[in-house]
Amino acid sequence: MKKYVRVVLWVLVLFPLAISAQSSTDAVINSTIDGKVVDAKSKTALDGATIQIKGTTNKASSDNNGKFSIRTAQRFPYTIVISFVGYQTKEVLATGSSIEVELSEGESQLSEVVVVGYGAQKKSDITGAVATVSKNNLTQPAVAFDNLLQGAVPGVAVTQSSGQPGSTATIRVRGGNSINFGNDPLYVIDGFIVYSNNNLSNTAAGSGPGVNALSSINPSDIESIDVLKDASATAIYGSRGANGVVLITTRRGKNGRNDINYSAYAGQQRIANKLSLLNAAQWAALVNDINVSDNVAKTFSDSDIAALGQGSDWQNAALRNASIQNHELSFAGGDEKSRYLIAGNYFDQPGTVLNTGFKRYSARINAERNLSERLKIVANFFGSRSQEDRLFGNAYGSINFNSAAFPILVQTSPVAKIKNDDGTYNMTSPYSATPTNALQDIVTTTNRTYLTRYLGNVSAEYKILKELTLKITGGADLLNTKQNYYAPSYTTAGYASGGFSSVGSVSAVTWLNENTLSYDHAIRNKHFLNVLAGYTTQFSKDESVVASAQKFPNDLTSFNNLSFAGTPVLPVSDAHQSSLNSFLGRVNYSYLHKYNITLSGRADGSSRLGANNRWGFFPSIGLSWNTGEEHFIKRIRQISNFKIRVTAGQTGNSEVPPYSSLAALTPTNYYFNSILVTGIATTQLTNPDLKWETTTQYNGGVDIGLFKNRVNLVFDVYYKKTTDLLLNVPLPLYTGYTSVLKNAGSVENKGIELGLNTDNIRSKDLNWKTSIVFAANRNKVLSLGDKVTSYFPIAPTGQVSPVIVKVGLPVGTFWGYKTDGLLTADDVNKGTPILAGVPQKEGDRKYVDIDKSGAVTTSDKINLGNAQPKFTFGFTNTFTYKGFDLSVFFQGSYGNKIFNLLRQKLEIPTLSLNASASLLNRWSPANPTGSEPRATNSPVPQVIDRYIEDGSYVKLKNISIGYNFSKGLISKIHIKQLRLYVSAQNLVTWTNYTGIDPEVNFYDSDNTKQGIDYGVYPSYRTFLGGINLTF
């Protein structure tokens, strides 16, 4: 894709040169030299190269087929000089025969083209902060492409929600701007705008954490990913640009080749880490200790305990080592007029927990054809079908967590047998409220999601004039989600209802029409002007339905035929639609590719906002100065490139659900004489003034290339302030309403980013490259509107919110008590302040009375840190030696805190649930030096500093070794390229975190509840072998 863009650009830039060159042809003809200029690597024709006879002014220009012809009075032989901006100039001796000249790309960044919004730009002229994901990152095996952004680009932080295959990830470009809505970047896939909304891949029928809508896109189709970070780059996306824009370009065919490629990998996933829990004998001793504190008889005698031994390891019983495989077959190629790519993919990842996994089939057709000199048409079509089996648990987007499968499993008493002697599941545990079995629940519950996605767009580019191009694009994204859920009557979830089943479906369509005009003009190869103007319109609609039933006589039909059920459940359906109309414009001007300015802006009108504020305008300005082109820098040989960038601009965010500004009424139910009746009342106040969140961003950066660009450094500093936050502003409760969605408050993000690429060794056989990305972001709530200085986001039912949103602190700060070991007899005697209202004795947890009030109350809670990392980094080394290549990729995060909610739960002694092995060192009269509190019956869990753990980590994310067979060897068997490799992912994790994995987000991408670990799907290591074969 880049190549074609480049050709087009150069045609436009050099067109004036060519005109002047042709006019100086000599009239007397002694010789004619014909030839062709091509790119040395891709062999594609170079349009607009200058061919000059050395020592004369006689020159010509290559046409769009790269061909040229010079007629001259001179006789052979003579030397011709072929030059082309961005390529190394070459001299060739002309002897009369037709010649083909291969030009190699120059080392200057002048030659590089970067994909930007609605087009491409020479890297030299870029003013904004734009980063490209390296090939090395893109080639890693992954379910969804958002995983590939991790550690790949400075300023993009990615956190996997869990180890569930196909799980969601939280992606933040330069921190979160919004508190409540829309912090995910905008994705632009081959020009089609996709805001990934996981509401569309989840219905109320599904159970457990969210399905990632992006997992429906096949990552191996991707040729390049560019991330637009600052306002100068993203303002062209206006109201959706505030959170950064990820531009994805898929693979295309190349001119002059017809390749058949088969890529595959297969391997095994192994459990990385397990929780350390009490065994049966240890747990029985704990129960006895609780009995003692309750003053009741011990449950287990000494001989009972001796007989229990290890008991059941529920965690182990549900885990397995699982296979993983991916196959990819593609046909790609083209000629001068047409390019095509046809690709198919099959991906299969059974989960490391029983009865889970992810599978995807996908196909892509990308085609383009130059119908004439002036007209080009392009079509991209992608279809996929994926199937995900998840662990059941809290419903997507809900705050309840008590039903999550993995925590339930690990809390199951080790005294209870997993299976009976005859191999059936033991359902008579005295520690279970229902006659069910936690492992059987996992194995027999169906919780499947099918995603079917078709994403297609077509475009036509027409050159109205040589410098003026009209581009019209039309496309649609169809996403269909179907979820099947069935909990048989012998599972915990289905027990009370005699078997519960639910089916849900969402059908979502987005269509987009974009019309742009671009004008490229160069004056005397000094002034370069590019103007873009456009109008776009986008429409989205989704319709969903969920039907459920209960009391199933048997398991034969389950979700496939709800009419076999004894009792229906009130079905629900919903529908939303929204529109976005936009005018956009951009002017790039460059003088000598040295001084550059970009002005861009977009006016967006969104149906989701209040009637009084539908339209918003988002402008930006960017300036850059290629200081390296100035003589005073050019004299310094070591510096090959030096560029300074400064930008400012505004972007927006309006990702509120449709109809948020309207006075909505909702139905409720009541009964009269046991008959259901419907009640309807207003539950949402109207706010016709609802408008955009606006992010104002300033960015300064330098790009430095040293030693012939063998060292490349990109450094950026930014400041962002988001105002008019879309907040659920609390109303006095006596109004009958809890809140209204309003624009209030502000948040800031500021930070630095560093990208360093070095070519450490460059030789014929051995090459070594290093890449470092580093980013630090600081987030702070500046205001929450009138009278509000803090609030607690809604906590799971029955829990105290562990997080606070407070002015002056980062969004989602953990809020709880500081502790200081255990109460000693001395403490009790001298009346050390204790937790108000809770009887406490020696051996109980000692809380710190921060405000010295004499008792520990909620006013003693303090800031215990937050989930946002102080910095994130990625560190990649690649080595090639002859045919061998080795890549080592580390990725890490520093300073982020995790609320280890599962550990909090596991350290609460109860009479029925298993607990953490750390309770072995509990205080008791027999163990007065114990570090953990004495055993009492279900003490109230408190949010304390102990459970706000350091989540810093470094992961050896990927290590791979490959071998490329030499062309000579394989060409005999008609193979163009053959690479074999082995790799390992997540091989080592260095962390102090005591949970299973520091990469965890139980509440998905909820900005206020980041970094909470309530026992998510465990993570794993992957070992792979792969092949890459091109015919």
Partner: protein, 508 residues
């Protein structure tokens, strides 16, 4: 060739221009906006149904008012209950240990739910008069909403004292324009009495499809309870005599047919819902998931046959001790052993007594109490009789024969000797004769305590009788924490933070 392309391009441009006319105005298919509503009779009925639904459901899926939430304040906040080890919510535990503070989440939630219901009542009362339909029905619907508004304000004013008296839905979303001060208790009561007086014009009874709606008898009964709370004894007596079935007491004129069930258990059974003893009940239904009574009292009472699993709400042992073994209310209200119908085994829960009154024994499996179909009785005839005994004792400076009769009817039913229509067979369970005014008052309050366990009465009774502090001093978990400030619950801290015009109750 080229021209064909150009033509096709122009066609595409034209098509693009046409489809580009995307409307930005929102015209939602999946929801109703206020401008579309309040047009028809059906709308008016639905608007009033919505007020009822605030009694048995919470928009966030939390415990509703007459599920477990009000009971957490009235039961845990009084001497009837202590915290349970399974109360892992510190705010719930704080209510059980009298260590709650103004930012207690349960207090906030209860306040919010009451005003949520009031808001819906206000919407109905404001909007229904403009809808053109059957006059009789229109007036009835408004009166139903007024009763419910009065009931909710009656709870609020007793819990918090002065409260903002809101009678209309807000017309702005600007917080500064929504600020109001607390309305004095007397003015709130004036509104309650006026709303209830209006509601006394409601029908005496309803056809089957509407059974469970507010009746005239319920309005008189609640009004009487308001007057008793205000110590307005003459008015209380007058209202009570309108409710009490004529012929059972000399001055009674009631024509509603109210009577005690002979069997105490029948006041809390599915088949006897909305029976002769029920003046007003919040309706629940076991409905296989279409909508069930999630977070009802029952789910706090019983969830497991595993004795290691504590119920969410546990009685204080001193409450259990006041019942003698012949009192049928003991076995209806509590259990220590329970039959598991699935295995036919009696499970022994040991020394720790649990609540049984609101367990729906018709459910299979029995642990599925979230599906309970038992109503929550807001006002029972036993309450009316005991209020009458109390009123007569106060108005006459001591217990009259009628006062004795009123309390003895309730006692006789408790001991299984009540028949019907104010008659019982065995006087051996009667209250000792010859009590002075003070002792009789204590006897009435003791009877109320035994009668209304978990029926959202105890804290109100202690507070209006001035006995709250001394009663809580008897409970070890609360003794050191209780003080005079506990006679009123604090105004939720969030309300004061948002609105500087609101003052806090003394001591908070």
């Amino acid at each position: 060739m080229e021209r064909i392309y150009i033509k096709s391009i122009l066609t595409i441009v034209a098509a693009g221009a046409i489809i580009s006319c995307n409307k930005l105005k929102e015209d939602p298919d999946s929801l109703i906006t206020s401008s579309q509503f309040y047009k028809t009779q059906a709308d008016a009925v639905a608007a009033v149904n919505a007020v009822y639904s605030t009694l048995n459901s919470d928009p966030a899926g939390d415990f509703p008012i007459y599920g477990r939430n009000l009971n957490l304040l009235i039961g845990n906040g009084s001497d009837d209950q202590v915290y349970s080890p399974s109360n892992t919510n510190p705010d719930v535990r704080a209510l059980g240990t009298t260590t709650y503070i103004a930012s207690n989440d349960r207090i906030r939630k209860n306040w919010q739910q009451h005003y949520y219901g009031i808001s819906r009542a206000n919407q109905a009362i404001d909007n229904i008069p403009a809808i053109q339909f059957d006059e009789t029905l229109r007036i009835r619907l408004i009166r139903e909403a007024k009763f419910l508004r009065a009931l909710l304000y009656f709870n609020l004013v007793r819990l918090h004292g002065d409260v903002p008296l809101i009678l209309h839905d807000p017309s702005t979303v600007e917080v500064k324009d929504l600020k109001v001060a607390r309305t004095p208790v007397d003015d709130v009561y004036a509104q309650i009495i006026s709303d209830l007086a209006d509601a006394t014009g409601l029908p005496v009874s309803y056809s089957d499809a509407d059974k469970g709606r507010v009746t005239a008898g319920a309005a008189h009964g609640l009004l009487a309870k308001v007057y008793v709370t205000r110590k307005d004894w003459p008015n209380a007596k007058a209202e009570l005599e309108k409710v009490i079935t004529s012929g059972t007491f000399p001055n009674a004129t009631g024509t509603y047919g109210y009577d005690l069930f002979a069997n105490f258990k029948d006041a809390f059974q599915k088949p006897t819902k909305n029976g002769k003893e029920h003046l007003f009940s919040v309706q629940y239904e076991t409905n296989g998931g279409a909508k069930n009574a999630q977070n009802f009292v029952s789910s706090g009472d019983f969830s497991s046959f595993n004795p290691a699993v504590y119920a969410g709400d546990l009685p204080d042992e001193r409450l259990v001790a006041i019942f003698d073994s012949a009192d049928s209310r003991r076995s209806v209200t509590f259990f220590n052993k329970i039959l598991n119908p699935a295995t036919n085994v009696i499970v022994d829960f040991g020394a720790i007594t649990r609540f049984a009154k609101f367990i729906d024994f018709t459910l299979t499996p029995l642990t599925n109490q979230a599906q309970s179909g038992l109503n929550f009785p807001v006002l029972r005839y036993a309450d009316i009789l005991l209020l009458y005994a109390e009123t007569l004792n106060e108005i006459n400076g001591g217990p009259s024969a009628e006062a004795y009769k009123a309390i003895n009817l309730v006692r006789s039913r408790a001991y299984g000797v009540y028949t019907s229509d104010g008659n019982y067979s065995d006087i051996s369970h009667d209250l000792a004769p010859g009590l002075n005014q003070s002792d009789f008052r204590d006897a009435v309050f003791l009877e109320r305590r035994k009668e209304f366990v978990q029926e959202a009465n105890r804290w109100f009774d202690l507070a209006r009788n001035g006995q709250l502090v001394q009663s809580l001093k008897l409970i070890p978990a609360k003794a050191n924490n209780v003080s005079e400030r506990n006679n009123l619950y604090p105004v939720p801290q969030v309300e004061i933070d948002l609105n500087s015009l609101l003052t806090q109750n003394p001591g908070w």
